[in-house]
């Protein structure tokens, strides 16, 4: 994971809330004009974007849970964060070169 991503402190975009209905997780704005379906792992990563938690910390925690090599977990967390940023769901993710 590139250093500037590992050490940033992403935060959830303001005004959005997670909802769960009939087995489906979504992130929505208050009037429902924006609605994104999201899986549980990505939702957990989004929820960790509290402005104080670094992606490196997220990777360390996930590596201790999942029986996957750290570099695989790093790649997956980076991919989730960059996708969330591209959708406007998180802020503070540095752009890649």
């Amino acid at each position: 994971m590139r250093t500037e991503l590992a050490t940033c402190r992403p935060s959830r975009a303001p005004g959005l809330a997670a909802r769960h209905l009939s087995g489906t997780h979504t992130i929505e704005d208050p009037d429902g004009s924006q609605r994104f379906v999201i899986n549980e792992t990505a939702l957990a990563v989004w929820d960790l974007c509290d402005g104080a938690t670094s992606p490196a910390e997220m990777v360390n925690a996930m590596t201790s849970i999942f029986n996957a090599p750290p570099q695989v977990v790093e790649r997956d967390v980076a991919s989730v964060l960059e996708n969330l940023a591209s959708l406007g769901l998180v802020q503070g993710i540095p752009e890649s070169d």
């Binding site: 549980e40 792992t41 960790l48 910390e57 360390n60 201790s64 849970i65 029986n67």
Partner: protein, 225 residues
């Protein structure tokens, strides 16, 4: 097809019996042993080397966590599935830090429990998705606390690290003085400096802080990361 071999350890007797019977009907599983208490899991797994140990926390999570730690520390390739009466976030966090491969509850259906055993037998992790968020937050918070403790420990001198290690071993100042062959007054000074640098007010607090930090190792020569 080689069945997944299973040891069941701990849990209410009726639950164990019913679950063992459910597995006996399925050729995919073979129950090697049913052990009354979680504390007996380590011996059973060392003897029988099952694919999966299902360790239940009934009667006390501490015994279950000790058993999980012992099984994961052994050279066997037994996967560990920790079970509980209900979704217990603290137990789950302790279990993950002990190295468990999966977590399930007795509220789950037998079908889901068998699926959990299959997942663990494949070498994959099985954590209830709805507990992932709270688990991650707890692990991150524990990691931050450990880093704070390690930062304080790094400020101790070698002698103070020796004293800290003896505090964790439960020694009082007089015992520390005898162990290190120093005067009681010198031991008192060292202990006070250790407490001050650790930011605590008592030997009990110091011992609890250091013993709870999984990243530290203690021996007679001191405390090391």
């Amino acid at each position: 097809m080689t069945p997944h071999t299973v040891v069941l350890a701990g849990g209410p007797h009726l639950f164990q019996t019913a679950f063992a019977r459910a597995m006996a009907k399925d050729p995919e599983f073979e129950v090697l042993a049913v052990v009354d208490e979680a504390a007996g899991a380590e011996e059973a797994c060392a003897r029988l080397r099952p694919s999966v140990a299902v360790v239940d926390s009934a009667g006390g999570g501490a015994d279950a966590i000790r058993a999980c730690t012992a099984i994961r520390s052994s050279e066997s390739r037994t996967g560990v599935l920790l079970t509980s009466e209900s979704e217990d976030a603290d137990l789950l966090v302790n279990g993950v830090q002990a190295g468990i491969d999966g977590f399930a509850t007795r509220e789950d259906t037998f079908s889901d429990l068998l699926d959990a055993i299959r997942t663990v037998a494949r070498g994959e992790a099985r954590i209830p998705p709805r507990m992932l968020g709270v688990l991650l937050r707890s692990l991150i918070e524990r990691q931050r606390q450990e880093e704070a403790v390690m930062e304080r420990v790094s400020q101790l001198t070698d002698r103070e690290k020796e004293v800290a290690s003896l505090l964790v071993a439960g020694m009082n100042r007089d015992a520390i003085a005898r162990e290190l062959v120093i005067s009681p007054e010198t031991a008192r000074t060292h202990v006070q400096r250790v407490l001050s640098k650790l930011g605590v007010h008592s030997q009990v607090e110091a011992a609890a802080m250091l013993a709870g930090c999984q990243a530290l190792r203690f021996n007679r020569d001191g405390v090391t990361p």
